[in-house]
Amino acid sequence: MGLLKHLLFWPVTGPTFLTEFAIGKVDEVARRELTDDTPIKAELLELQMALEMDEIDEATYLEREAELVARLREVRRWREQFGMPTSGGPVRVAQDEDESSSAGAEEEERGSSDDA
């Protein structure tokens, strides 16, 4: 956590800073923490639940939600800087790299995540 805090408050000084990140000077653990939004999303769910159960009022909810959304954006920025995929923003059907198999309707596959 010490390192993470250090990184978060480090003044961003420009491209060199980022390149140094990219070439792996950052501790892998810190990097994972910076780019993982699952705990934030879980917190958001809990917060929504608390509102629905009348444990907090609307104003408190909105205040906390704004904080969490800001953190989500922060994670997204880090992911972009690390060249990792981000969710949101415009998408299109992925083009199959090998043209041979692009003939039909089998361009999607079933998976275990909750897309669609």
Binding site: L72, T86, E108
Partner: protein, 273 residues
């Protein structure tokens, strides 16, 4: 991959945004329909765009025009997305899209319909006339512990022992009591959940359990219910919540589009230009 990163959320709409807005399509769900439809000015975002359909061969994507941006998963945005799906659901059984799915052009949306046609068609057939209901069950842990102490002989014996010896109670007795209570609480939770699932299963086509949210929740389930069985399912939920009145709190929601029972992994990539 490398995205121009339009800074998200509620920033002012610049002329550039407006230019981008021309082509952006936010997709809510896929339905079976070949005639153009309108669902009103209920789209996501502050501009509340008109919600309408784009068609391919008997399938339709329900969309609204939207600036190309990232929608934060705020309650307001999520509710807007859900409200459109609820509206569509009054007349159709939709395949819901995940929150925040935006395409650049009509053509890109049509390409989705074309390339995923078979799967959409099959799934729409499978979920025809079915809807989803959510049931979250919460409990008051302290209350459960209190009632367990009365039922469980071993717990009450340890408790008495603790009370008799007061401050001088052995560390071992305290530990043992804690462990015993923990196990009994867990067991009670599992028992409640099983009983509830068993009671509702006859009225549902399928059930799925998700991870509980927070400490107080013991069950976070979704049920796929045939429209003709809705009344029975509803009665079933009312019956179990009566059975556990004062012990458990039920949070019953729906009807939803079958978010938890449609599992199409779309092969999408970020559209940069």
């Amino acid at each position: 991959m490398a995205q121009p990163s339009p800074s998200a959320g509620t920033e002012p709409v610049t002329p550039t945004d407006r230019r981008l807005a021309v082509g952006g399509k936010y997709v809510y769900c896929i339905i079976k329909e070949s005639a153009p439809r309108e669902f009103g000015d209920i789209g996501i975002g502050e501009h509340r765009g008109r919600v309408y359909t784009l068609h391919h061969n008997g399938l339709a994507a329900v969309v609204s025009d939207s600036p190309l941006r990232i929608y934060d998963p705020t309650r307001e945005n999520v509710l807007a997305h859900e409200f459109v799906n609820e509206t569509v659901m009054r007349e159709y059984t939709p395949i819901p899209m995940s929150f925040g799915t935006l395409f650049r052009t009509d053509e890109d949306v049509l390409e989705l319909l074309r390339s995923t046609y078979q799967t959409f068609d099959t799934v729409l057939e499978q979920i025809r006339d079915k809807t989803e209901f959510g049931l979250k069950v919460l409990w008051d842990r302290d209350r459960v512990i209190a009632s367990l102490a009365q039922e469980d002989a071993e717990i009450s014996r340890l408790r008495e022992q603790l009370e008799r010896s007061g401050e001088g109670a052995s560390y071992y007795t305290r530990m043992e009591l804690g462990r015993r209570i923990e196990a009994a609480v867990e067991e009670a939770g599992a028992r409640y959940v099983n009983a509830i699932l068993e009671a509702l299963r006859p009225h549902a086509v399928a059930a799925r359990r998700n991870k509980p949210i927070g400490d107080r929740m013991i069950m976070n389930a979704a049920f796929l219910v045939d429209r003709e069985q809705e009344q029975q399912f509803d009665d079933g939920v009312k019956a179990v919540s009566r059975d556990y009145e004062g012990v458990l709190t039920f949070k019953y929601t729906g009807p939803w589009p079958p978010y938890n029972f449609v599992n199409i992994k779309l092969k999408l990539e970020q559209a940069t230009s």
